[in-house]
């Protein structure tokens, strides 16, 4: 605090200490903490919380012989997928077999496997097209795997296939059908790996007979894991930048930051400010006036792109004053009037012209146009200066420009035209 005060005192300000204190004492630490937190979360998301590449989803099917994995499910997470099916060890169908399986006695198992080969239907899975699978299933109930309900669970539904079951005498075993592009079979369980599953592919699993508790699992290895760390790093970086800014730039007093602007604002008396207001509008009008003849010099008009930006506003302004119209050099009376007025204002060498009658000679007209061309040449520079409004010198120019155009409201419409 004392240090800051000591620093601030030479500037002769009392308030800035408080602002700097808030910025450096409160805002900066908050941003700093946020930045650290973001980075920490980013690191966590990139390491321990990183989304798992291995996705394993399971489902259970009860009392069904067939399980169908819908089109689009095989390649849901990644094109490489491993599907495993297990008919629940056939525990309920044969108690003796279940016992031998549990005991894991090698000799008994051998005999039980022989028995199984004879009595137990195989678990088979095949990949085919949807129409072939529905043809095979015609008239049969089945369990359908429709997608993922969570990252760990498959969503299923029980369905009844349309059509009538085949009554053909020449039926072939499930595994022997020509329709499948890939078949895997096993005793009580089967598993199949597909390297590039297609969206149109359907998997049909045949448990051989109605199984009370069939287990199904699908395992994908994701090639593309969502990156949750990067947004955190980005946020962290942003907070760090904000912390630095709030400790430095934002801690400064506004007039310290914008010294020149403040100085120019102070230099001008308060009463001058209302005069500034129309100044901008008038400057725009002047811009518009300067723009008008430009189409003849396209290169110049294109050179400064921001003129176009003000064109709309200028039009509005001129609409208030009366419709901006085409300059008509033939309107001699108006030129004469203008010349007259100029003579009164500027008391320049044009004074003689002001005294002339309404009829102007060709020479006078030429002189007028030469002057007009000069004015047009000057006006862009003046307008540019009005835009920046930074340098005091420019401010003067603005004022002079203003003085010229400010007459417009008081003058009649014809004079407005003449300025162009």
């Amino acid at each position: 605090m004392t240090d800051q005060e000591a620093q601030e005192q030479p500037r002769k300000y009392t308030k800035p200490t408080r602002r700097a204190w808030i910025m450096r004492g409160i805002v900066t630490p908050i941003f700093g903490l946020l930045a650290v937190a973001c980075v920490v979360f980013g690191v966590l998301n990139a390491t321990v919380w990183k989304p798992s590449r291995n996705i394993t989803a399971t489902a259970q099917a009860h009392g069904t012989q067939y399980v169908v994995i819908d089109p689009g499910v095989l390649d849901l997470v990644d094109t490489a997928v491993t599907v495993s099916a297990d008919n629940g060890e056939t525990a309920s169908s044969n108690g003796a077999e279940a016992g031998t399986d549990a005991s894991e006695d090698s000799q008994n198992q051998q005999t039980s496997q022989d028995q199984q080969a004879q009595t137990e239907p195989q678990v088979c899975m095949a990949v085919g097209s949807a129409k072939d699978v529905s043809g095979w299933l015609a008239g049969e109930p089945y369990v359908r795997v429709t997608g993922l309900s969570t990252w760990q669970a498959l969503s299923t539904s029980e369905e009844q296939a349309k059509g009538t079951a085949s009554a053909s005498q020449n039926q072939v075993a499930f595994a022997d059908s020509d329709m499948w592009s890939q078949v895997e079979c096993g005793g009580t369980s089967a598993s199949m790996h597909l390297n590039s599953a297609q969206p149109a592919q359907v998997m049909l699993i045949d448990f051989g007979t109605k199984t009370p508790n069939a287990d199904l699992s699908m395992h994908w290895v994701r090639q593309r894991v969502p990156d949750f760390a990067l947004p955190w790093y980005f946020g962290g970086g942003l907070c760090a930048v904000l912390a630095v800014l709030s400790a430095s730039v934002f801690a400064m007093e506004p007039h310290t930051r914008r010294k020149k602007q403040a100085e120019s604002a102070q230099a001008r008396p308060k009463s001058a400010k209302p005069a500034d207001e129309p100044t901008i509008g008038a400057a725009l009008a002047g811009t518009f006036a300067a723009l008008k003849p430009r189409p003849k010099k396209k290169a110049a008009a294109k050179g400064s792109g921001r003129h176009g930006r003000h064109a709309g506003a200028a039009e509005d302004e001129s609409a208030q004053q009366g419709a901006p119209t085409v300059v008509d050099p033939g309107a001699r009376n108006i030129v004469a009037e203008h010349a007259n007025r100029n003579a009164g204002d500027e008391t320049a060498e044009h004074g003689a012209e002001g005294e002339t009658t309404s009829v102007i000679s060709a020479d006078e007209l030429q002189a007028y146009f030469a002057r007009l061309a000069q004015e047009v040449g000057v006006e862009p520079a003046a307008e540019d200066a009005a835009e920046t409004t930074a340098e005091p010198a420019d401010a003067e120019v603005v004022e002079t420009e203003t003085a010229v155009v400010e007459e417009q409201p008081s003058a009649d419409q014809s004079e407005g035209k003449e300025n162009e």
Binding site: G72, K131, D132, L148, W151, S166, Q171, D178, M179
Partner: protein, 334 residues
């Protein structure tokens, strides 16, 4: 104690953030609605067709080697089952299989439809045989979703015949319909009328609808030769051709016409005059007749497989027979 509310709030926030930010796996993917194109996929891939065809030809080859038609039913159906059974019976007698029974394992083209229902068929055209016999048109059919493809028909394509063009098998063709009206005549009519042309030759009212072909010419020549012989003996001969109901496979070509493969059975009755015996007219007939007792009349049943291209109606062109197969299946003395 003063700090406790702050501590609790901090703990809650920390816990909330941990739960909400930790271990996120990302959004669960959803299954997009299946596209229509999925149902328009070919029934088989080319690899599946090859696998299926080679397995069938292997079974047939085994039967050929054993000259035993018992297992033919596993690989064949329709007219080809009858024809090959007869060919093997002949081979049992003669000791060797007729060279025309050769089916090359390589193909030049396969036509796979995208049709959803059953029965389905697949047309494949083989290469020429090693002894430069003409290409074979193989027709495989699958009668039911739970059955497998079987070789339904084989037609030997005529030398130099121009086949219609078909969509590539990766896109898939379409099977035709027996009563398709958009052709110069429906496939059903075409087969019936062609049977009439075979029976009556140039006297048939439909003779002009069909372009001349080797099969017709050969049959005509054979018939004339036999007729001349019979006339010398004051005998007679008659051959009737009858299309077999339902034994027709149709595939739409990319030009809009249909390639039709159909079974036409024919019965050739030869009656010898002047108390003579009527004897078998060929080695095949002789082998099939075996040691049977000849009488004055001999009735030989033939199975004919005809492949014809029916152009689209607007073309107004003639129907072209592109290939055929003919085999006696039964020889009996009446």
């Amino acid at each position: 104690m003063k700090r406790s509310p702050l501590a609790v709030a901090a703990a809650v926030i920390a816990l909330g953030m941990t739960v909400s930010l930790a271990a996120c796996e990302g959004q669960i993917p959803t299954v997009s609605a299946p596209t229509e194109s999925a149902s328009a996929n070919p029934d088989l891939t080319e690899d599946q067709e090859q696998e299926m065809r080679e397995a069938l030809l292997k079974t047939i080859e085994d039967c050929n080697e054993q000259k035993n038609p018992a297992n033919l039913g596993q690989a064949m159906s329709g007219p080809e089952l009858e024809i090959r059974t007869s060919e093997l019976q002949v081979a049992q007698k003669t000791g060797k299989l007729d060279p025309k029974t050769t089916i090359p394992t390589d193909i030049t083209q396969t036509v796979i439809p995208t049709d959803n229902g059953w029965p389905r068929s697949v047309f494949s055209i083989t290469t020429t045989t090693e002894d430069q016999q003409s290409k074979r048109l193989l027709v495989f059919t699958q009668g039911d979703a739970r059955e497998n493809y079987k070789l339904w028909g084989v037609a030997r394509l005529f030398q130099g015949v121009e086949m219609p063009k078909f969509t590539v098998p990766s896109i898939g063709s379409q099977m035709g319909h027996p009563t398709d009206e958009n052709l110069v005549m429906t496939p059903e009519q075409a087969v019936q009328r062609y049977a009439d042309v075979l029976q009556n030759g140039t006297k048939s009212q439909y003779a002009g609808d069909f372009a001349d072909d080797y099969f017709r010419q050969d049959l005509q020549n054979l018939s004339q030769t036999v007729q001349q012989g019979m006339e010398r003996n004051k005998g007679s001969q008659e051959q009737t051709f009858t299309p077999v109901d339902g034994q027709m496979q149709i595939m739409r070509s990319s030009e809009g016409g249909d390639l039709v493969v159909a079974q036409i059975n024919s019965v050739w009755t030869r009656t010898a005059g002047e108390g003579r015996e009527s004897l078998p007219a060929s080695d095949s007939e002789r082998a099939l007749f075996g040691d049977g007792k000849a009488t004055s009349t001999m009735k030989v049943t033939y199975v004919n497989v005809i492949a014809m291209y029916i152009p689209p109606a607007k073309s107004g062109a003639q129907i072209t027979t592109v290939g055929a197969e003919r085999q006696p299946v039964k020889v009996e003395a009446v």
